[in-house]
Assembly symmetry: C2
Homo-oligomer: 349 residues x 2
């Protein structure tokens, strides 16, 4: 344990291993020595299937014998995935949340993560907030950080998540069948509105509304439990990271089908509805990314079972359309063709 | 397969998925349509234990039942791990090589990799060279690229490697015993000299010498086969990424021991010796990183077995010192105390 004195030494003298160890490993500040951000943290998860964690050339992990391994990777870049100057705690949370969301989309159980952190400087307050946001969410999902490195350079946060799943039970984008119901968890567009509020492109007179929407952007909830519950019921799934208008075509294409959405059915939160006119709310719901809700295809006769599973997790599941034979995605508003906004977020378009 | 015409479309119109698919996946340019850099590439590895690769939210992988999973992650940042303007093929090779080297240090068998690429722009020539360098080395080691993402931003290359190893057989930094021999594979300092040549800090009149040393920096050979052969013989291992003077103290500390090195025993290549005075060559061998040779501890009576295993791989193994009771690392040159250069490369010092 580091004492309070040790906390005041110059961070610039900390080496790479010490940085990882101090903020993410056993050498993490004790409650007494930590700032407020770190104090709220329950501490790092330790799993019995981690044979060797941070500190050697590689981690040694024990994968359950009857399971498949599930691996995903995602990167956050300042100014692109979050505004410059964002709260480090939010950045830490989101860097893991976007990866957990990928596992949720497969129906997998998360287990281990690695973190590659490129930082302009080793700033104590930033690292405290970031590590608290990361490790709190990791603890909530029983994930252990088993490897990492830090590099000096323009801010870039890369997380790889590993999990496992019963063989043959993973949800894929390609499993949808014609006639199945398209449904989404939770509400859409909140994170888009939250980002607009953070960046000043939207303004709210109601502080509670603004706080709720900003929270949805800064601290998205990956639908891990729902993803696991959807195995054996849903036939396809993906997470909504780039916006429904950008993501749905990927699921339809992977399944070799067309998709149709009735835009009036998109689930919009009361907070979003109170912030903006319906047209603007729908634009965020369709075109803004970062919601990290799940999009699923489910046979019509199983929709009730899946909605009930969602309800047990205090989550809504809303049917928004269906899969059809053919290709492409069609959008309708009150029965009339609707032009969805530009195809979602894509880094190199 | 992409035809030649498709190659000439504006890369700026390529989306994230298309980029990954075109340069790293099944949509990779055919030999006829590819540039010279891509033409030399044998194509991407396909493994039977990859149930689902690039293209869904996550990859599905089958870990052998009696093996442990081994995971490592490493980042390359321009201007820090390679000079700005480096050949993209070298960057692609090195981004995977540094990770393979981590698995080599554990004695593990590499299997799968993910790649997170942050790029200022989607430049066709750069991506062709990078992917050829990455995929050629992956093919040489039977590694399949199973996941990836691309993001726009300052150049940052992050690779995660996954492999497996017989349970309980991994080499660790912590396994060394007092009295054991310290040994290194290959020769040290070549990459440091190569980097000095690339950046103009060193000059060689002999083109062949310069080319050999630069090759050692740009295309390091991870000692994967040797690492596997060393299991059951060596008692501890790590890879030399930050220079012997920086890395050896980590192995000694992890094993709870002191280490002693006789500097005159450091293996120096003829090319390095012809480039620089002995003192300079030793400084690179001790203080420059990027060699990616392995440092091992081995019982004295097994050193011959390990050297023979190295020889079967056309690799030298050189005893450079020993482990002792105590703490810290001592260096001697011809029996007299020697001050090793500053502790190796550490990103935040």
């Amino acid at each position: 344990m580091q004492g309070d004195d040790a906390m005041h030494e110059d961070e610039a003298s900390l080496g790479e291993f010490e940085l990882i160890d101090r903020y993410f490993g056993p050498g993490r500040p004790s409650v007494a020595g930590a700032s407020d951000a770190a104090r709220r943290s329950p501490g790092a998860t330790r799993r019995s299937d981690v044979i060797l964690g941070i500190g050697d050339d590689a981690a040694l992990l024990r994968c359950p014998a009857d399971k498949d391994l599930v691996a995903a990777v995602d990167t956050l870049v300042e100014g692109r995935h979050f505004p410059a100057g964002s709260a480090p705690r939010s950045i830490g949370h989101r860097s893991l949340a976007v990866n957990l969301s990928d596992l949720a989309a497969m129906g997998a159980t998360p287990a281990w993560a690695t973190l590659a952190l490129t930082l302009p400087a080793a700033d104590r307050r930033w690292l405290e907030g970031f590590s608290a946001g990361f490790l709190d969410l990791a603890a909530a999902h029983g994930v252990e950080l088993v490897g990492g490195n830090t590099t000096a350079g323009p801010l870039n946060i890369n997380v790889q998540i590993l999990g496992h799943i019963d063989r043959g039970s993973a949800l894929r984008r390609s499993g949808a069948q014609p006639g199945e119901v398209l449904a989404v968890t939770g509400t859409l567009g909140d994170a888009g509105a939250g980002l607009a509020l953070v960046t000043g492109r939207a303004v709210s007179a109601d502080r509670a509304v603004a706080a709720e929407l900003i929270e949805r952007f800064e601290y998205p909830t990956p639908r891990v439990q729902f993803g696991m519950a959807a195995r054996g019921i849903a036939s396809a799934a993906m997470d909504l990271s780039d916006g429904l208008a950008g993501d749905l075509p990927k699921l339809a294409r992977a399944s070799g089908l067309a998709a149709h959405v009735d835009v009036e059915r998109l689930p919009l939160s009361p907070a979003l509805r109170s912030l903006a006119p319906l047209a603007q709310a729908r634009e965020w719901a369709l075109g803004a990314g970062e919601d990290y809700e799940l999009l699923v295809a489910v046979p019509a006769q199983r929709f009730g079972d899946l909605a009930a599973a969602a309800a047990r997790l205090n989550l809504t599941l809303t049917a928004i359309g269906e899969l059809r034979r053919g290709t492409g995605v069609t959008w309708a508003l009150e029965g009339l063709p609707f032009a969805a906004p530009g195809g979602g977020y894509d880094h190199f378009r």
